[in-house]
Symmetry: C2
Subunit: 259 residues, 2 copies
């Protein structure tokens, strides 16, 4: 049952993602940037080429190859002959190689994976649902009343629930002495938290400000700031490699913060 695909140890890391917005591709980029590891990024080429790169992978005509199943959706990672998709899965592969998680087979990697999956549920997927609650195929403007209702539940119930869980993680014995979610070193879970909180701050600025001022999630916002100040992350955020928010998952519709 073993795969014939080989990890491409000396091969370059290649990220394939939509151009023009951070999106889920950003969850992968922050790992490369923090680790200072070179990578190619299809989103940075000419826009048409970047779109074609993604479409080539997700086309129904693309049957994958002998080593790799076909891809459902971006982000996509290519490393040597290995092709992976699903954000949390790409991170599970990359993080141990980049010094941002224990090795495969260590229970610590599973703990980090469960934390990452929970953050992606709460601060990525559920944020996307706030502006697309009834049809992914329809534009936001065609589902505004439903979006208002979903956003209210997100602001009042879901977001505090997820931030409360993240604070519980930071208060737990497993979070160690520093600002980090797990043990005493920065891991990829901290980078995922950073990006997800950053996107949520863009999408729901007033709500996040209120939640921050409540003081209930102080550790979460301190961790966010600690990642933002990491030299490599700071340099990345100031560079033209970092795309501005625009469409995609994290969108700012002021009416979704009104009652």
């Amino acid at each position: 049952m073993s795969s014939q695909a080989k990890a491409g140890d000396d091969a370059p890391y290649e990220l394939i993602y939509w151009p023009g917005l951070p999106g889920r591709g950003e969850l992968v980029r922050v790992l490369f940037e923090e680790a200072g590891v070179p990578y190619t990024d299809s989103a940075k080429g000419a826009r048409d080429d970047a779109v074609s790169a993604v479409l080539g992978y997700i086309s129904p005509d693309n049957e994958g190859d002998a080593n790799n199943p076909p891809v459902f959706a971006p982000p996509i990672l290519k490393h040597g002959s290995l092709v992976l998709h699903q954000s949390s899965n790409i991170l599970l592969y990359l993080a141990p190689r980049l010094g941002l998680a224990p090795a495969p087979g260590d229970p610590g990697l599973l703990h980090l994976n469960q934390i990452v999956l929970t953050i992606l549920d709460g601060l990525v997927s559920e944020v996307h649902e706030t502006h697309h609650p009834v049809a992914v195929s329809a534009v936001y403007e065609d589902q505004k009343p439903e979006a208002k209702r979903r956003s209210r539940a997100f602001r009042d119930e879901r977001l505090p629930k997820y931030l409360g869980y993240l604070q519980r993680l930071l208060d737990a014995k497993t979070s160690g002495q520093g600002p980090w979610l797990y043990r005493d070193q920065l891991t990829y879970a901290d980078l995922v938290l950073f990006q997800s909180v950053d996107g949520t701050l863009y999408a729901f600025p007033k709500t996040m400000d209120k939640l921050k001022r409540s003081g209930k999630y102080a550790g979460v916002f301190e961790l966010y700031d600690a990642v933002k100040q990491r030299p490599n992350i700071k340099a990345y955020l100031a560079s033209d490699r970092r795309a501005a928010y625009s469409g995609g998952i994290w969108r700012c519709y002021p009416e979704l913060e009104e009652d």
Copy 2:
């Protein structure tokens, strides 16, 4: 950064989940049942005890322990001193131990994980969204118009898209000669497909019948049947260990199949 939690090789497998419905707990049970491995199941005790077992883990007062971070939501797996949550994460731990996936570190396990994540997105999370599109905290009866709209998009667009992808996986070179999703042996991805299709057949019987009769997803329904006929799965489905559908993720509201 290595975890101090140890896999409990000789310890019993303990599943902690809500009583009275299959839910996401079923995604874990089908692995144990296919592998013929003993496990304890909190859902099978007295109802109050079963509810208390879950609440004990997810309570904000539960800070986990020195080896394990606190839990966000069930299903929960306890194995020796190790505690895990998030369905796909539990399966990632169990499948290699139960002979249902390659070992950690093998790219094949990452391929299976990405397939499982995609099935869970499409046939579990998105099915749940059909009856709860605007507020998890509100009952279905308070979001029926929105549920109708979300269900229409699910039936017409999302469900065919996911079934089409699963068929692409079966048509791909990586699916081997047999009925299975990946290579030539049954893996845990096949079991997850079985349970997720089974739940979707319960929730959207007319839609699934129409999609089956289209012939476009023949391999998916053949795989479903092949798993259902596995001796251990067949015995399980006929036993009182298998809970009837009732509430939770997979619900049958006939009006959600009307236009």
